[in-house]
Subunit: 245 residues, 2 copies
């Protein structure tokens, strides 16, 4: 864990010793009074915490960084995959700093996927949080569930650069054309591919169909690689700044 996400209240109160984060910091990592670790308030500031007490709670002071890190202006739309795959997508897209992830139920998808505890019990939150902590960031993507592609497309910025990955029907590779806007929407089909009706909707909404070459990638690999190529093209990356004072 490169950073620990906290609430504003926990920042004031400290963390209970039985909290998983305290156990990790004090027992797994072995931090003592005076040691430092990175903290972040969800979708707000990050800072360097210094432990001031380990009894009766984990208490720390924080030196916050001046500038708040930003989420990148990219929305990723994904056909709802099996829960095991969705967990990786949530983690990995959070870790690269995507702004919004929209999952939509697909024509060819399995209805059972939506009934998973990942969605029913809101376990998805844990996976975007972990991806964000891995990235040493506090910027957690917004996650939306839609019942079909049309509903998902109603949630996007119409003026964004819109790309849909399609290994079969695309006539150009992702990266071949320059972005048409300074923000983007990337649509990733379901595991069994886009349906004919879904392709019609994508074209109606001015998506460009792009491929990632002649290899068939897993959904999570296509989501990560496609997002990163788009982020690279949007030219939004700055070098990592250390949180140390």
């Amino acid at each position: 864990m490169n950073l620990v996400l906290l609430t504003e209240k926990e920042l004031v109160d400290g963390l209970a010793l039985e909290d998983a984060r305290s156990i990790h910091l004090l027992h797994t990592v072995g931090l003592k009074v005076g040691a430092t670790f990175h903290i972040g308030i969800k979708n707000a500031r990050r800072g360097l915490a210094t432990i001031t007490a380990t009894q009766p709670k984990l208490i720390f002071t924080v030196k916050f960084e001046d500038e708040v890190q930003k989420r990148f202006p990219v929305t990723v739309i994904v056909g709802l995959p099996r829960p095991q795959t969705a967990k990786k997508v949530l983690h990995d897209l959070a870790s690269v700093g995507i702004d919004k992830i929209i999952f939509f139920d697909t024509e060819k998808g399995d209805a059972g996927y939506a009934m998973s505890s990942l969605w029913k019990d809101r376990e998805w939150i844990e996976h975007v949080d972990k991806g964000t902590e891995q990235a040493c960031s506090a910027q957690v993507p917004e996650v939306i569930r839609c019942s079909n592609l049309t509903e998902a497309l109603a949630n996007i910025d119409a003026s964004a650069w819109k790309v849909a990955l399609d290994p079969y029907e695309a006539s150009q590779a992702l990266g071949e054309s320059a972005p048409t806007a300074n923000r983007a929407v990337l649509a990733i089909g379901p595991e069994r591919g886009w349906s004919a009706a879904e392709r019609v909707f994508l074209l109606k909404y001015n998506f460009t169909l792009c491929h990632l070459g002649d290899r068939i990638l897993r959904v999570e690999s296509a989501a990560l690689a496609g997002s990163m190529i788009i982020l690279s093209q949007l030219n939004v990356w700055e070098k990592h700044r250390s949180l140390a004072p």
Copy 2:
């Protein structure tokens, strides 16, 4: 499994019914006589197999594609990570069609990683094979182990475009500069980052230090994303061609 890798001998003899591939095709997928599946001969031809008998062995005829798919002209050098991470790197880099993967023992790395059954018992072969089968490809990367970075650098093409990922020292983002050759070498540091001595070697070998933005990514995510951005920049991608006749 999108494709089944076979040897030339298995192509002639068929597959024993107790072979894991036969069990997968006949029992998991439920194929019968007359059904088709994709096969590939390692680093050679792919084709569409049609089952002609399921007793006493799995026997099939194959219609091969005319053109042999190629590996892409990219070598990836990775500081030897923990075996669990190395498995993902092997799988994912095979699935995107990388030519060569070189793992080197690092100054900051754990000596135990190299003692894993992944390397001792050559289990790594299974992971590059699975990644290749996932991609519906027969092109398996060459995998090399080196005892340090200097030895790894002796194994690369000196005239290639050379990029090393470094979230801390890089002054430019990957994708910001155009490739300087039509083949590339991508170097990914160990989990704890490059050592000072390793950085000196990289610069001596004319590597450009690049970053992937201000998020700290897992080694396997950086390897996949970095490779895909470079493949996109090298402009080597063609659309997936179906193997069906």
